[in-house]
């Protein structure tokens, strides 16, 4: 799955790439203006004999020319940069559609209007300008989805914004782009762009409380979830009501990945994660609870039922 700046999937990213391309032409021109003379000099002016060459010490006119031209080029880039900045980063005059909060080392994703909360996976409707509010709960993080738009810091105590309009359905990878401690490398996330109808049904499902399991291992898991300390950090709406310190688990089974893109969301991986989070993602905030095999089985069953 391509992450790159060179595969824009939004008008914002397209604008940024366009500016990059223009800049590359300018830089290429300057690099050529430097490299070609050097290559010529290296061949043409090799030392032959002991005679000293003419001691030319300067040429004011030439120096003025080669000052004015770069000045004009950077002036040109500056004007273009203003144009692109305004296209990408236009004025914010309403409440955000999504609020993303960076934590060490996961992303809290909230849809205020729908009252939905999830983690590490952001869904957006295709073809709509979405305003994303970016916050941080602890240290400075950075929200970056190269194919969809600019990066912007997540700063505690402050709300930043980024506009994104995904043009095509698909998954777009993002990453934290401000070093934020031990597991900065695995504070990744993804943006899932869906056709509006699919997005609406996803959002409705996410806003709904969890369906409490009726029977079997999942039901046992629900009991153990409350008895072990899981509920102290994690919220499952409909089962408990708790200020959360860790990712909301209400619909964890609907997500594609676990632990901020660290693992694919399969029952095997989930069980492994519960068994030894500190081995898979050393120094993460989730402790090794030394769960028994039985607990692991029922907890996994519970979580897998939370679609």
């Amino acid at each position: 799955m391509h992450v790159s700046v060179f595969s824009p999937a939004s008008p914002q990213a397209t604008e940024l790439l366009w500016l990059w391309n223009v800049c590359m032409w300018v830089c290429g021109f300057i690099l050529a203006a430097v490299t070609l003379p050097i290559l010529y000099i290296v061949v043409r002016y090799r030392r032959h004999g002991e005679n000293e060459p003419p001691q030319i010490a300067g040429n004011k006119r030439l120096e003025i020319v080669w000052t004015i031209i770069p000045l004009a080029l950077v002036g040109f880039l500056f004007v273009l940069s203003i144009r692109t900045a305004r296209a990408v980063d236009h004025h914010v005059s309403r409440e955000p559609d999504v609020v993303v909060t960076g934590h060490q080392w996961w992303w809290e994703v909230a849809y205020p209007a729908a009252n939905a909360i999830t983690a590490n996976e952001i869904h957006l409707p295709v073809g709509r300008d979405m305003l994303i509010g970016i916050e941080a709960a602890d240290v400075i993080h950075d929200f970056w989805v190269p194919r969809l738009g600019r990066k912007i810091d997540a700063i505690p105590g402050r709300r930043n914004f980024v506009w994104i309009r995904a043009e095509q359905p698909g998954d777009y990878e993002g990453a934290c782009a401000e070093y934020c401690g031990a597991q900065h490398a695995w504070m990744r996330f993804r943006v899932v762009a869906q056709l509006p109808a699919a997005y609406d049904s996803w959002l409705t499902a996410q806003a709904a409380a969890a369906i409490t399991p009726a029977s079997g291992d999942a039901k046992l898991g629900q009991t153990r979830f409350g008895e072990l300390t899981c509920a102290n950090c994690h919220n499952i709406r409909g089962i408990n009501k708790q200020k959360q310190y860790g990712p909301d688990l209400t619909h964890i089974a609907s997500r594609k990945m676990l632990a901020a893109e660290r693992l694919e969301n399969t029952p095997g991986n989930l069980k492994n994660w519960l068994r030894q989070p500190n081995i898979i993602k050393p120094n993460c905030e989730m402790p090794d609870l030394k769960l028994s095999d039985g607990d692991l089985t029922v907890l996994t069953a519970l979580l897998e039922s939370l679609k």
Partner: protein
């Protein structure tokens, strides 16, 4: 060369007085030449430490999901790599060269304040030891070389690594400021008769301007560091949002130091290039006035660009446009110098010594680094590529491909003066090509990694198409660089013992340091030649001919 008397080399038992203990001499010295060499040897040592840290990083990143280093250890290593290279290698290396050369190039017998000079070195060394002691204390700093708050605060960095970091940098900062004071006073006061400011060798001029930049920038760092220490140790809230403080203030304060610092790290290298290229092109520098004036322009502008490190913070378009403009502007005086250096070579008679090879490589490589800098100054592009491997590529292109290549040119150029012996040109060429190829192999590909979405400061990465191959290539390049450094070190050690005697002026150069023996006597000059222009020795050799 055969009838040139062999002047005493650095390791000869007779030089200087055989009566005292050699170790005590070196520890107690206040002679700028000795102190300069102490700086050079010490920074070379720290360069090896920083280089090993780089190799460790590259081994860990050689393929995705590697577990060669734990995340915790990796984060300490990359922090120490950056801190070491910036504070313990590049700046003291340049100041060490400045220390050795400045009195010689202005016809003085020492720096104006020799004991302050010695103090500067020892407090720098103490800072370096303190920084590395943090490993022994159990945890080196791991918040990156610029320690953003609140990650750097007690709540998120509970171990003592950051306190060692702050204290070490305070010590090093004091030493740096002291050296800058010394250089300014020396250059103002101790120039020989006839050496007006407008006739200063460009290396000395750049060192002079650089020293003023240090006087502005390092105190800003010291203020930031004491505030961080007061936060950490006295529980204040300068930079923690929870107590009403502002993490962004740290960024403003740090980069008010940090940006001038990168120019502090490059201006003396520009000075080296401005000495080397004319001599090996057999022509004077093209446009002395322009080159000197552009240096002042860079220094002044560098104080007004700091927030270009903060374009992703969301300060608002006013900030972004203002600092984008100033950052684009500063590219101009930096860039035109490259044209001046090329014009110096044009029509010249080029001698491809190792020193000149590095100088030419500098022109090409630094230009690439400068141009990637221009892309950052074009603000919206920064919004994509900052904090990715693209910026890692940029900084190494300007600091390694720029400053360090310039330093290499300076080492091959001035080693004969310092030691009385020439470095092997044959092994120099091997060093050059290995380092040049290794450098571009390591860092060019990192531009693409960044553009492809790989953030910086990550201990591993997902197995995206191409990422493993690009990272492995970069790692291989790093080891090629490592081998080239071994070649250099071997060259230095072997040449010190048995290299070809250099004589006073092996390069037929024109500035005053070449008008004395190699190495110079303790008082530097038996007689300083008359100075009537920027190239005193040229004028002496061409009394009726073209004035420089």
């Amino acid at each position: 060369m055969s009838d040139v008397p062999i002047t005493p080399g650095l390791l000869d038992a007779d030089f200087p007085a055989p009566s005292e203990s050699r170790w005590l001499e070196w520890v107690a010295t206040v002679d700028h030449k000795r102190i300069g060499i102490l700086y050079l040897v010490t920074t070379l040592f720290f360069f090896c430490l920083g280089g090993i840290e780089a190799l460790l990083i590259r081994v860990q990143l050689a393929w995705p999901g590697n577990s060669f280093l734990s995340p915790e250890m990796y984060n300490q290593i990359f922090t120490m790599h950056g801190t070491t290279m910036v504070f313990l290698v590049v700046v003291p290396l340049l100041l060490g060269l400045a220390n050795y050369l400045t009195p010689l190039m202005i016809g003085a017998s020492d720096m104006a304040l020799p004991r302050l000079n010695a103090f500067s070195f020892w407090v720098f060394l103490f800072g370096g030891v303190l920084l590395y002691f943090s490993f022994v204390s159990g945890h080196a700093p791991s918040a990156g070389w610029f320690s953003y708050a609140p990650l750097s605060e007690k709540g998120f960095s509970t171990r003592y690594g950051l306190d060692y970091w702050a204290l070490a940098l305070l010590g090093i900062g004091v030493g740096t400021i002291a050296t800058a004071i010394n250089l300014i006073v020396t250059i103002v006061n101790l120039r020989t008769e006839g050496l007006t400011i407008r006739r200063l060798p460009l290396f000395v001029w750049m060192v002079f301007v650089n020293s003023f930049l240090i006087i502005f920038a390092l105190p800003a760092l010291n203020a930031s560091l004491v505030m961080l220490l007061i936060d950490r140790q006295l529980n204040a809230h300068f930079f923690t949002q929870l107590g009403g403080g502002s993490p962004i203030l740290w960024q403003h304060y740090f980069w008010s130091f940090g940006h001038p610092e990168v120019y502090i790290m490059v201006l003396p290298a520009f000075g080296i290039i401005s000495e080397v290229i004319p001599v090996f092109s057999r022509k004077p520098i093209f446009g002395y006035g322009f080159v000197a004036a552009s240096t002042v322009a860079i220094a002044l502008l560098s104080i007004g660009v700091w927030a270009h490190h903060m374009f992703a913070v969301g300060l608002g378009h006013a900030w972004d446009y203002a600092f984008g403009a100033s950052s684009l502007l500063i590219a101009v005086p930096t860039g035109v110098k490259v044209f001046n250096w090329i014009a110096t070579m044009w029509g010249g008679s080029i001698r491809f010594t190792t020193s000149m090879l590095f100088a030419i490589a500098f022109l090409f490589t630094f230009t690439i680094g400068g141009l990637s800098g221009v892309t950052f100054a074009t603000v919206p592009i920064d919004w994509q590529v900052t904090d990715s491997y693209y910026v890692v590529a940029h900084m190494h292109y300007v600091l390694f491909g720029g400053t360090l290549f310039g330093v290499m040119a300076g080492i091959y150029y001035w080693f004969p003066k310092m030691s009385g012996r020439l470095l092997s040109e044959r092994w120099g060429a091997v060093h050059f090509w290995l380092m040049f190829i290794g450098f571009h192999l390591t860092f060019f590909i990192q531009h693409f990694l960044g553009l492809d979405g790989m953030p910086r400061r990550v201990y591993t990465y997902p197995d995206h198409p191409g990422w493993a191959m690009m990272n492995l290539t970069s790692t291989i390049g790093a080891f090629v660089i490592g081998i080239s450094v071994l070649v250099l070190l071997t060259n230095i050690v072997v040449s010190l013992r048995g290299g070809e005697p250099a004589g006073d002026n092996p390069w037929n150069a024109w500035t005053l340091e070449w008008a004395t023996t190699s190495p110079p006597p303790e008082h530097n000059f038996d007689a300083v030649p008359p100075v009537h222009g920027p190239r005193p020795l040229w004028d002496l050799a061409h009394p009726q001919g073209e004035r420089a």
